[in-house]
Amino acid sequence: MDRVRLFAVARKEVLQLRRDPRSLILAFLLPVALLVFFGYAISWDVTDIRLAVVDQDGGVKARELLDGFRASGRFVVASRLERTADIGPLLDRGRALIALVIPPRFDADLGAGRTALVQAIVDGSDANTATIALGYAQGVIQQFSTRTLFQTRRLRLPIAVQTRIWYNEELASRNMIVPGLVAVIMMIIAGLLTSLTIAREWERGTMEQLAATPVTRLEVVIGKLLPYVVIGLADVALCSLLGVLVFHVPFRGNMFFLMGASFAFLVGTLGLGLLISAVARSQLLATQIGMIATFLPGFLLSGFMFPIDTMPLPLRLLTYLVPARYFLVVTRGVFLKGVGPDVLWPQGLLMIAYAVIGLGLAARAFRKELA
C-alpha cells in the first residue's frame, strides 16, 4: 500500500465532503438533536396516571386506600364517579387511564378478616402504559394490604426484601439512553453516509476514472473510510462530552478504551456501508438497503431500548449477528459500570474481528464490481 496514493484518495474524499458543507453540519447536528430528544423529551416513566374512582363504600379504609394511591406520586385522582356505568364513557374519551372500583362493605370485609376485592379497569389500548400503570396499582394495593394485615394482627413479615440498584442508582432512563445512543449514532452516521459514497461515484461515472488510476482497491477503501472515521470519532467524543456535562451521565471507565473500541466498530460499520454502496450502485437503492442493514438493527436489535431477553427466539438468535449489540455492552460498561478491557476483552476482540471482516468484504466487493 502506498501512503501517497492512500492520502490522495482520502484528500479527494475530504474535498468532496467540504464542498457539501451541509452533510458535515448534519453529521454533527443529528447526534446533538438525538441527545436532546432522548435526554429531555422522552422517557418510559409513567407519571400522573389519571385515576377515576367509584367509591361504593365511602368508609375510612377506602379513603386510606385512595390516600395510598395519591401518596405514591404516580396517580392523580381525575374524577369521582357515582355509578360503574359512568366508567365506560370516561375511558372512551381518554379522560382516565384506570378506573378503580371500591366495593360496598369494603370496610366491613377488612374488619371481619375477609378478602376484599378491589376492581381496576384499565384502558388497555396502550398496552405498554397500561401494564406499567397496573403494576404501580398492584404495588399500592399490596402495600396497603400488608399494612392493614399488620395493624390488625400485630405481626410483621418474616422476610424483608432489600433491593439495591447498581450502576444506575437513580434509575434514570437518560443514563441508559446516552451510552446506547453513542453506538446508535455511529451506526446511523457510518452506515448511511458511506453507503452513498461509492454509489455516488458509480452514478456520476467517476468510478471508471478512479479505476483507471494506479490506486489499489484497498487504498480506495481505506482512503474513503479515513475522513468518515474522523467524523465518527468526533461524534463519539461530542456525544460523550454532552452526555457527561449536560445530562450528567456518569463516566466511570477508561476513555481510551472506549475510543479504541469505537474506532474498530466504526471501521467495521463503514466497511459494511461501503459494501452496500458497491453492491447497490445507486444512491436510492443504497439508502434503502442501508436503512435495513444498519439503522434498524442498530436501533431495534441491539438492546438499545428493548431488552434482548424478551424477544422471541428467532430474533434473539439474530441479535448475535448485530455488531451494535456487542458495542453497546462496551459503551454501557465503560460509562456506567466502569469496567475495562479485563472484563470487556471478548467484546473488544469481536469489534476487531468486525473491523477486519467489514474492510475485507468492502475491498472484495469493490474488485468484483470493477472487473
Partner: protein, 371 residues
C-alpha cells in the same frame, strides 16, 4: 387546452415515472419486501414487557427454604436463573460482565431466620436498563412478599386483592398496540425518503430541466412526481394491514373505508415534506441526511414508542404539529376501539390541513427552484 388532453398527458407522465421507479428490479424488491421485514421486527421487538430477566443466584444457606424461595422466583416467568454459586463475589462478576441483570443473595442462616421472623433477602439489579430494573424490582418485591406471607406463620392471604380488567385490549398484548402503529413509521420512511431522493436524483442528473421544457405545467410535474410514490405507499399500507391481521392477529374493530382516507391524508403530508426536502437539497446525500433529521423527531415525538402524555408539556404541544401523531391516533382508534369519524374528525381535520399546507408550500417552492 381541453381537459381530456391534459388528463392523457398527465397519465402518460405518471406512467413514465412509474417505469422509472420500477426499472431497477432490486429497488422494487426492497421497497416491497423491506416493510414486511421491518413490520415483523418492530412488531416483536417494540415492547416494554419485562420477562425472562437473567438472574444470578447466590445461595449461602442451602436449605429447603432457600431453594423454595429461588424456585418461586423462577416459576413466575419473570426471572430466568442463569447461574448459581455460593460466593457473593461471583454475583458481582456476573453483573459486571453483563451475564446477569438481576441477582438474589440468600444469606447463611436464612431458614433459621425465617422461623424467627427476621430474615433478609437481598435483590440486586443492574440499572443499566432503567425500565427493566424498575419493573423487575417491582416484580421481585411482590413475588417475595407473597412468598413471605405464604411461608410465614400468618397462614392467610392478603386482605385486599386487585382484580384487573383491561378494556379495548383485554390481553394487554403490546403487539396489538404497536403493530398498527408501525404502519405510520414505514409509510414515513418510504414516502419521505423515496420522494426526496428521487426528485433530487433528477436534479443531479440534469433531467429535471428536460422536463421543464416539456409542455407539462408545474402542477402536473409535481403530481407526476408524487403519484407513483403515493400509489406505492397505498400498496404498502394494504400489505401492512394484511400482515397485521393475519400474522399478528391484531383485532380490527373499525372500518377499512375510514382507514384508507386517513392513510391517504397522512401520505399526502409525507409527500409534501419529502418534496420540501428535495427543494432544499442539491445532492442525494444532503437529501438523505436532511430526511433523517426530520424522520427522527417525527418518530420519537409521535407517541409510537414513548407515550405523549409522559413528555414535558412543551414537547406535548410540539407533537400537535406532527402528522404522525395524528395518524397514529387514527390507526390505533380504528384498529382497537373501532372508532368512527364522530370521534376522529379532529385528527382527520389536522391531517387535511397539514397535508394541504405542506404540499402547497412544497409546490410553490418546487416551482421556484426549477425555474
Amino acid at each position: 387546452m381541453r381537459l381530456p388532453e391534459r388528463f392523457d398527458r398527465l397519465r402518460e407522465f405518471v406512467r413514465k415515472e412509474l417505469i422509472q421507479v420500477f426499472r431497477d428490479p432490486r429497488l422494487t424488491r426492497i421497497v416491497l419486501v423491506a416493510p414486511v421485514l421491518q413490520l415483523l421486527v418492530f412488531g416483536y421487538v417494540v415492547t416494554t414487557d419485562v420477562r425472562r430477566i437473567p438472574t444470578f443466584v447466590v445461595d449461602q444457606d442451602h436449605t429447603l427454604a432457600s431453594r423454595e424461595l429461588v424456585r418461586t422466583l423462577a416459576a413466575s416467568g419473570y426471572f430466568r436463573i442463569t447461574g448459581r454459586s455460593d460466593r457473593p463475589r461471583d454475583l458481582v462478576e456476573a453483573l459486571d460482565h453483563g451475564a446477569a441483570t438481576a441477582g438474589v443473595d440468600v444469606p447463611r442462616g436464612f431458614a433459621r431466620a425465617v422461623t424467627r421472623g427476621d430474615a433478609t433477602v437481598q435483590v440486586l439489579f443492574d440499572g443499566t436498563n432503567s425500565n427493566t430494573a424498575t419493573v423487575g424490582s417491582g416484580y421481585a418485591e411482590r413475588i417475595l412478599m407473597a412468598y413471605a406471607l405464604r411461608d410465614g406463620s400468618l397462614g392467610s392471604a392478603l386482605p385486599v386483592e386487585l382484580r384487573a380488567r383491561a378494556w379495548f385490549n383485554p390481553n394487554l398484548r403490546s403487539s396489538d398496540y404497536n403493530v398498527p402503529a408501525v404502519m405510520g413509521q414505514l409509510l414515513l420512511l418510504l414516502s419521505l425518503l423515496l420522494t426526496s431522493l428521487a426528485v433530487v436524483r433528477e436534479r443531479e442528473g440534469g433531467t429535471l430541466e428536460q422536463l421543464m421544457v416539456s409542455p407539462l405545467t408545474a402542477g402536473e410535474l409535481i403530481l407526476g412526481k408524487t403519484v407513483p410514490f403515493a400509489l406505492l405507499a397505498v400498496v404498502e399500507m394494504v400489505m401492512i394491514t394484511a400482515v397485521a391481521l393475519f400474522w399478528f392477529r391484531v383485532p380490527f374493530q373499525g372500518s377499512f373505508l375510514l382507514l384508507l382516507p386517513g392513510g391517504l391524508l397522512y401520505i399526502l403530508c409525507m409527500l409534501g415534506v419529502g418534496l420540501l426536502i428535495s427543494t432544499v437539497s442539491n445532492t442525494q446525500q444532503e437529501a438523505m441526511l436532511t430526511s433523517f433529521l426530520v424522520i427522527m423527531p417525527v418518530m420519537l415525538l409521535s407517541g409510537f414508542m414513548f407515550p405523549v402524555s409522559s413528555m414535558p408539556v412543551v414537547f406535548q404541544w410540539l407533537t400537535l404539529l406532527n402528522p404522525l401523531r395524528h395518524f397514529l391516533e387514527i390507526v390505533r382508534a380504528i384498529f382497537l376501539k373501532g372508532a368512527g369519524l364522530a370521534a376522529l374528525w379532529p385528527q382527520f381535520l389536522a391531517l387535511l390541513a397539514m397535508g394541504v399546507g405542506l404540499l402547497g408550500f412544497a409546490a410553490t417552492r418546487f416551482h421556484k427552484t426549477v425555474r
